[in-house]
Point group: C2
Chain length 231, copies 2
């Protein structure tokens, strides 16, 4: 009960409040339904009808509350991404080395995959390619992930000999997009995707080896890099 309704004791105010609560509840059901439908049926079969069925509400409510299916999907994408990213933010803030990041990234990927959350972004990305209205919301959802990864990369790379040659802004985008791609690949060839992830794991060993190189070897690498980028 809001202070206003309590203070006035106004019956009409309390009723309005109850309605607002009900409305928020239905909206939430629809958002959850939209997320579940995207994961379970894919963008191709995601419609007002299938979402409403998953949400357990009437199909007409999609249009009443969100105006269109697209806007419901946009809202779902926003909320879904925000929730997921918030879950990992704290842990990500503690990551300090490249190999830690890669290990954590793999764990995170596994969890998201299991929960079907990467799939939401993948399906929306596929849909947005040819359906402009979905693009801004999808980009925004992906950007939440990118921003987190970027923060970590900036922190890590500035302390590494690779720092002056790598662009954390671009790499964060490359990594995020790649994870979506690998998720999609996983859907058609799980064994192949497993092998791909294992190969990346192995590469991380290489990266951390460079990080831990002795000062002389590091200088050699750094020198070599400067020479190649200058020309």
């Amino acid at each position: 009960m809001t202070p206003r309704a309590a203070a006035t004791g106004d019956k009409a105010a309390r009723a309005a409040e109850a309605k607002a609560a009900k409305s928020a509840e239905t909206k939430q059901k629809l958002i959850d339904g939209a997320l579940r439908t995207l994961v379970e049926q894919g963008i191709a079969k995601t419609s007002a009808r299938t979402i409403a069925a998953a949400a357990g509400v009437n199909q007409a409510l999609v249009f009443y509350h969100f105006g269109s299916v697209d806007e419901l999907l946009a809202a779902a994408c926003r909320q879904g991404s925000q929730e997921r990213v918030a879950l990992y933010r704290e842990q990500l803030d503690k990551v300090t080395t490249l190999s830690e990041l890669l290990a954590f990234g793999r764990e995170m990927h596994e969890q998201e995959r299991a929960g079907g959350h990467v799939a939401v972004l993948a399906q929306l990305l596929a849909g947005a390619q040819t359906h402009q209205p979905l693009a801004p919301a999808t980009a925004a959802g992906l950007d939440l992930w990118i921003a987190e990864i970027e923060k970590v990369l900036v922190r890590i790379l500035s302390a590494s000999p690779l720092g002056e040659f790598a662009d954390p802004v671009g790499l964060a985008r490359a990594v995020s997009a790649s994870f979506v791609g690998i998720e999609l690949y996983e859907g058609v060839d799980p064994a192949g995707a497993e092998r791909a992830l294992a190969a990346l794991d192995q590469l991380s060993v290489l990266a951390s080896a460079i990080e831990d190189l002795g000062p002389i070897a590091q200088r050699a690498v750094r020198h070599r890099l400067r020479r190649s980028t200058r020309k």
Copy 2:
């Protein structure tokens, strides 16, 4: 005209032959139409009707020639991937260094992107996630790309100090899937994708620097790598 028809001079045989040619032509129109529809309208709007419209033939012919929309899409995926990969095979066979591969990969990506060919795989991958019948054909299409990239990686890595720590089979899969992911990202944020690709370009400089390291520094890196992988 087949030898048989020519030899017999049989009118019925010639007629049958003409029909077969017409059939093949229509099938081809449908396959081309399917590819164009996937690119221009996405998996969500790809249907027997939209494909037939793009192909300029009647909608019922999808079912007559392919049995179902899924099977038409599978055929289109197969043929499309084969054609595209064949286009690059010769050039890929000439690639001998990691930086050459990365430069070529970027060029190839640009071309495929412009022609909308990566988009076909991306849309089918998205569709296959929740629609099993599409999965085998999609995986097969992607595998054609993977196989080419794998061949090149094997060749390159065996001649590099990284060779004994990197898995070309897994990396080929990771790279292929990542390209699809970046393609999808490009659809919702072209500037971000451009930045991502630029960052990867920069990383390639790093890789080639390691390849060109002097013998002493290389030994240090190699030694360091052995130590990290052993534990």
